[in-house]
C-alpha cells in the first residue's frame, strides 16, 4: 500500500475544518447543512487515506465501550502511556478524524452516528488518554458525548462523561502538568505547531467549558448549590485566563449574587457584587461619533443599562440583608425584641471568628491586584446582619446610593415598570430602617418619605396598562398611612394631654389610609363598577386584608360626636361582616386570612353589644 503524501492528507483535513466552521445560516435555505456535508465528505476521504485502525490486543479484549462497562471505562488510568511509535501515532490521527466526524454528525442532528464516531475515538485513545498528545482530545470527545446524551435527556449519562473529563484533567495537571497538544496539531506541519502558551490557553479553555457543562447538568438535576459553585468557578476562570468581556462578565457576576442572596449567603453575594463593580469599571469609556454604526451605537446604551442593573442587584443585597435581620429580631407584633437582639449579638462574635474559615472555603475571584481591588470594595460593606440602628443605617445609605444610580438609567419615561420597582425598593428600605429606629416621631417621618415617593407615581399611570403595579402602590401607600396612624396614636398615648392637633393628625392619616384602601378595592370592580361576587385567587388575600383594615380604621376614627361614632362603628361592623360572610361562602378564602378571620368573627360578636351600649348611653344623655 503506497503511502499517500502527508501534505495531501493535511490539506484535506484543513479544508474539512474550514467547512465545519462555516456558519449554518450562510448555507442556502433549502440546504442548511450543505457545508457540514461537504466537511464530512472530506473527513471520510482523509479517513480512507489514513488506512485502517491499528489492531491492538488490549482493545479486542475490552467488552462494551461507552458506558456499558461501568466504572472501568470512565475510571482514571493507572499510568501514563505515551503515544509513541507509528501504531500509536496512527491511532491518534484516526481518533482526531473520528472526533471531527462525531461532532459533524451531531451538528447535523444525527446523534446515533455521532455517538458511534465519538465512542470509536475514545476507544482508539483509551490507552494513551493521560498522555500529553491525547488528553485534550480525549476530554473533548467525552465532553461532546456528555452534550449528546443531554440531548437524549439522559442526564446522568451526560454527568458521568463530564465528571470523568473533570477527573482526568485534574489527574493530568497533578501528575504531568505540561501544556498538552491541541488536537488540531496532529495535522499540522512541524513548523506550524503551537507554542506552549497557546497550548495551555486552549487546554484551559476546554476545561472551563467542561466546568460550564457540569454547571448546566447540575442545574437540570436540581443540585442548585453545586450548579452555582460551578458557574462561580467558570466565571473565576474567565478572569484568570483573560477570556471575558467586562460588561458581560460583570452582569453575570451580579446575577449570580442574586442566587446567593436568595440563599441568604451574603458573604458570597457581596464578593460577586464587589467583583462586578471592579470588572465593570474596566470598561473603557465609549463615546458615539457620527460615523458610529448602528451596532456600535448600542454599546453606550448597553453600558448604562448594565450599570443600572448592577445597581439594582446591590439594592436587593442591602434590602434583603436588612429584612433578614428584621425577621430574626422581631417579636410577634413586628417590633424589635430586645432579647432576640442580645442573642444575635452574642452570636455575632462567633460569626466573626468563623469568618476566615468560611472565606477560605468560598470561591474567590482573582489574584493579586484584582483581589485587592475587590477586597477594597468589600471592606466598605457589611455582610453580617445589622443588629442596631447604626449598622442598619449604613446598609440603608448604601442601598439608597444605588437607588439613585439605578434611577439614572431607569427613568419613568421609557422604563416605567423598572422605575417603579426601584422606587418600591427605596420605600422598602425606609420601611425596614424604621424597624430599627427607636424614636417614634422619626419613624413617622420615614413613612412620610415613603408616601411622598410613591404617591406621585400613580398620578400619571395609565391603569389599563399598569394594573398590577397600580394596585401594589395603592396598597403600599394605604399601609404606610395605616402605620403612621398607629404610630401617632402610640405617641398620643404617651402624652399626658393629647391635644386637638394630634387628634386631627390621626384622623387625617386615617382618612388617607381609607382613601387608598378604597381605591384599591374599587380597582377590583368590573367595567360596570360592580364588586365581584367571586374574588379572583390572585387578589383574594390583599382584598380581604384591605377590607379588614378598612373595618379597623373605621373603628379608630376619633370623634366627639356620638352619632358619628355610632355610624363609624356600624360601617366597621359592616366590613367585618363582609369578611365573615365571604369566608363562609368561599372556604378557600378562610385559609388565606386565618388570623384576620378570627379577629373579624370576634368583632362581629362584640361590636353590636358595644353599639347597643352606646345607643343606650346616648338616649340617657
Amino acid at each position: 500500500m503506497a503511502n499517500p503524501p502527508w501534505a495531501e492528507i493535511r490539506e484535506k483535513f484543513q479544508a474539512a475544518l474550514a467547512l465545519s466552521r462555516v456558519e449554518l445560516h450562510k448555507n442556502p435555505e433549502k440546504e442548511p447543512y450543505k457545508s457540514k456535508y461537504g466537511a464530512r465528505a472530506l473527513l471520510e476521504e482523509v479517513k480512507a487515506l489514513l488506512g485502517p485502525a491499528p489492531e491492538d490486543e488490549d482493545e479486542r479484549s475490552q467488552a462494551e465501550d461507552g458506558l456499558g462497562a461501568g466504572d472501568h471505562t470512565l475510571g482514571l488510568p493507572a499510568e501514563v502511556v505515551e503515544a509513541e511509535g507509528p501504531i500509536a501515532q496512527g491511532a491518534v490521527r484516526l481518533a482526531v478524524i473520528e472526533f471531527h466526524l462525531g461532532v459533524n454528525h451531531i451538528d447535523t442532528e444525527e446523534l446515533s452516528a455521532g455517538e458511534e464516531h465519538l465512542v470509536k475515538c475514545l476507544r482508539l485513545l483509551r490507552k494513551y488518554r493521560l498522555s500529553q498528545d491525547c488528553v485534550s482530545l480525549y476530554i473533548q470527545a467525552q465532553n461532546n458525548l456528555g452534550i449528546l446524551w443531554s440531548e437524549r435527556e439522559e442526564i446522568e449519562t451526560a454527568q458521568a462523561y463530564l465528571e470523568s473529563s473533570e477527573a482526568l484533567y485534574n489527574q493530568y495537571m497533578k501528575e504531568i502538568g505540561s501544556p498538552p497538544l491541541d488536537p488540531t496539531e496532529h495535522f499540522l506541519p512541524e513548523e506550524e505547531k503551537l507554542a506552549e502558551q497557546e497550548r495551555s490557553k486552549r487546554f484551559e479553555k476546554v476545561y472551563t467549558h467542561n466546568l460550564y457543562y457540569l454547571a448546566q447538568v447540575y442545574q437540570h438535576m436540581e443540585m442548585f448549590e453545586k450548579a452555582a459553585h460551578y458557574c462561580h468557578s467558570t466565571l473565576k476562570r474567565q478572569l484568570e485566563h483573560n477570556a471575558y468581556h467586562p460588561i458581560e462578565w460583570a452582569i453575570n457576576a451580579a446575577t449570580l449574587s442574586q442566587f446567593y442572596i436568595n440563599k441568604l449567603c451574603f458573604m458570597e453575594a457581596r464578593h460577586c457584587l464587589s467583583a462586578a463593580n471592579v470588572i465593570f469599571g474596566q470598561t473603557g469609556k465609549i463615546s458615539t461619533t457620527e460615523d458610529t454604526t448602528e451596532a456600535e451605537g448600542d454599546v453606550p446604551e448597553l453600558y448604562h443599562q448594565r450599570k443600572g442593573e448592577i445597581a439594582r442587584c446591590w439594592i436587593k443585597y442591602c434590602l434583603t440583608l436588612l429584612q433578614n435581620a428584621q425577621l430574626s429580631m422581631q417579636d410577634n407584633i413586628g417590633e424589635l425584641d430586645l432579647d432576640k437582639q442580645s442573642e444575635l449579638r452574642a452570636l455575632r462574635k462567633k460569626e466573626l471568628d468563623e469568618e476566615e474559615r468560611v472565606r477560605k472555603k468560598a470561591v474567590q475571584f482573582g489574584t493579586g491586584e484584582l483581589c485587592d481591588a475587590i477586597s477594597a470594595v468589600e471592606e466598605k460593606v457589611s455582610y453580617l446582619r445589622p443588629l442596631d440602628f447604626e449598622e442598619a443605617r449604613e446598609l440603608f445609605l448604601l442601598g439608597q446610593h444605588y437607588v439613585f444610580e439605578a434611577k439614572e438609567f431607569f427613568q419613568i419615561d421609557g422604563y416605567v415598570t423598572d422605575h417603579i420597582e426601584v422606587v418600591q425598593d427605596h420605600s422598602a428600605l425606609f420601611k425596614v430602617l424604621a424597624f430599627f429606629e427607636t424614636d417614634m416621631e422619626r419613624r413617622c417621618k420615614m413613612h412620610k418619605r415613603r408616601i411622598a415617593m410613591l404617591e406621585p407615581l400613580i398620578v400619571d399611570l395609565n391603569p389599563q396598562y399598569y394594573l398590577l403595579v397600580n394596585r401594589q402602590i395603592q396598597f403600599e401607600i394605604a399601609h404606610a398611612y395605616y402605620d403612621m396612624m398607629d404610630l401617632k396614636v402610640a405617641i398620643a398615648d404617651k402624652l399626658r394631654d393629647p391635644d386637638s392637633h394630634i387628634v386631627k393628625k390621626i384622623n387625617n392619616l386615617n382618612k388617607s389610609a381609607l382613601k387608598y384602601y378604597q381605591l384599591f378595592l374599587d380597582s377590583l370592580r368590573d367595567p360596570n363598577k360592580v364588586f365581584p361576587e367571586h374574588i379572583g385567587e390572585d387578589v383574594l388575600r390583599p382584598a380581604m386584608l384591605a377590607k379588614f383594615r378598612v373595618a379597623r380604621l373605621y373603628g379608630k376614627i376619633i370623634t366627639a360626636d356620638p352619632k358619628k361614632e355610632l355610624e363609624n362603628l356600624a360601617t366597621s361592623l359592616e366590613h367585618y361582616k363582609f369578611i365573615v360572610d365571604y369566608c363562609e361562602k368561599h372556604p378557600e378564602a378562610a385559609q388565606e386570612i386565618e388570623v384576620e378571620l378570627e379577629l373579624s368573627k370576634e368583632m362581629v360578636s362584640l361590636l353590636p353589644t358595644k353599639m347597643e351600649r352606646f345607643r343606650t348611653k346616648m338616649a340617657l344623655t
Binding site: I261, G334, A428, D486
Partner: protein, 359 residues
Amino acid sequence: MANVRVAVRVRPLSKRETKEGGRIIVEVDGKVAKIRNLKVDNRPDGFGDSREKVVAFGFDYCYWSVNPEDPQYASQDVVFQDLGTEVLSGAAKGYNICLFAYGQTGSGKTYTMLGTPASVGLTPRICEGLFIREKDYAPLPSSCRIKISFLEIYNERVRDLLKQSDQKKSYTLRVREHPEMGPYVQGLSQHVVTNYKQVIQLLEEGIANRITAATHVHEASSRSHAIFTIYYTQAILENNLPSEIASKINLVDLAGSERADPSYCKDRITEGANINKSLVTLGIVISTLAQNSQAFSSCQSLNSAASDGGDSGIPSSLSGTSSGVGSSRRQSYIPYRDSVLTWLLKDSLGGNSKTIMVA
C-alpha cells in the same frame, strides 16, 4: 382577568407531501385534535412501549381545513366567525387583544392571517369588521378612530414596515415604556385609515417591505416576526361626559421556526435538558439559577408594626401568585434578558387583555 384561547388549524397536504405519499395522521373531533403515531405497532410484545397509538390534545377551537369538499371543512369565514368576531367584540369593550399565528414555515400561517385575494384571511376581515361596525353602530360619523402600524422584529431589532427609510441601512426603533401609553415603539409610524381599501394597501406595502429586506439577508421574511397593530379608539358618552374607549389589536405572525432565526446557532439555544455549548449562554444559565432560587427562598413576608388593640402578627406583605397585588416582593432582581417580542406584547399577555393563539 387574562384570557387565553388556543386554536389549531389543519391544512391540506402540500403537493410535495402528496407526491411523497404522505398520510394525514391528524383527526379533529369537536374540540380535540388527535394524532396517530404510525410508528407504534400493534405487536403483542409492545406492551413495554409507553407510547400511545393515538394521542389527543384539547383546544378551545379545532379547525379542519384539509378538504373543501368535506362537510367539516373550516373555511376562512368559519375561522373568522369564531376568532375574528371574538377579537372585534373584545376590542369594542376596550380590551387589548393579541392574536398569534404560530407554526413552522409552510404550515399555513400566512394563509390564515392574510389569506389570498380570493380567500382573505383574518387580518383583512377583522379590519373590515371594524369599519362595518362603525357604519352600523356609530350615531355620528367618525366617532371612532382607527390607526394602523406594522412592524417587523428581525434579529432582535425592530423595523417599521410602513416607513420608507432613505438611508441605505435599515434603522432600528427603540422599544420603551410610557406611563400613559404603556409599552410602545418609539418612532413607529401610525397611519389613520378610514376605509377598508386603505388598510389593504398598507398591509401590502408592509409585506412588500419584508420581502425586500429578504434580498439583503437571504429570505428574512420567513425568519422574522411581524406585528400588525390596529389602534381602535371609540368616542363614547359616559355619564353625559365625552370619553374614550381605547383598545389595541395585535396580530402577530411569528417567525417560521427558531432554527430559521439568523441569530439561531445551535450553540446558543437552550431547551429542556440540552447543554449549551457556548459560553455565550453563561448569563442565561446563571439567570435561570437565580430565578429558580427565588421559589425556594424561605424568607417569608414581614409582619407589620401593629399597635395595641390586640392585632397580632398581621403580615403586611402579601402572599399569592405573581399576578396578585403585593406577592411577597421578589427577594432579588434578575437583569433583563427577555426578547423584544415578549416585552412589546407584555401588556397583551395579562391583566386586561385577551389572547388567542392559532397554531
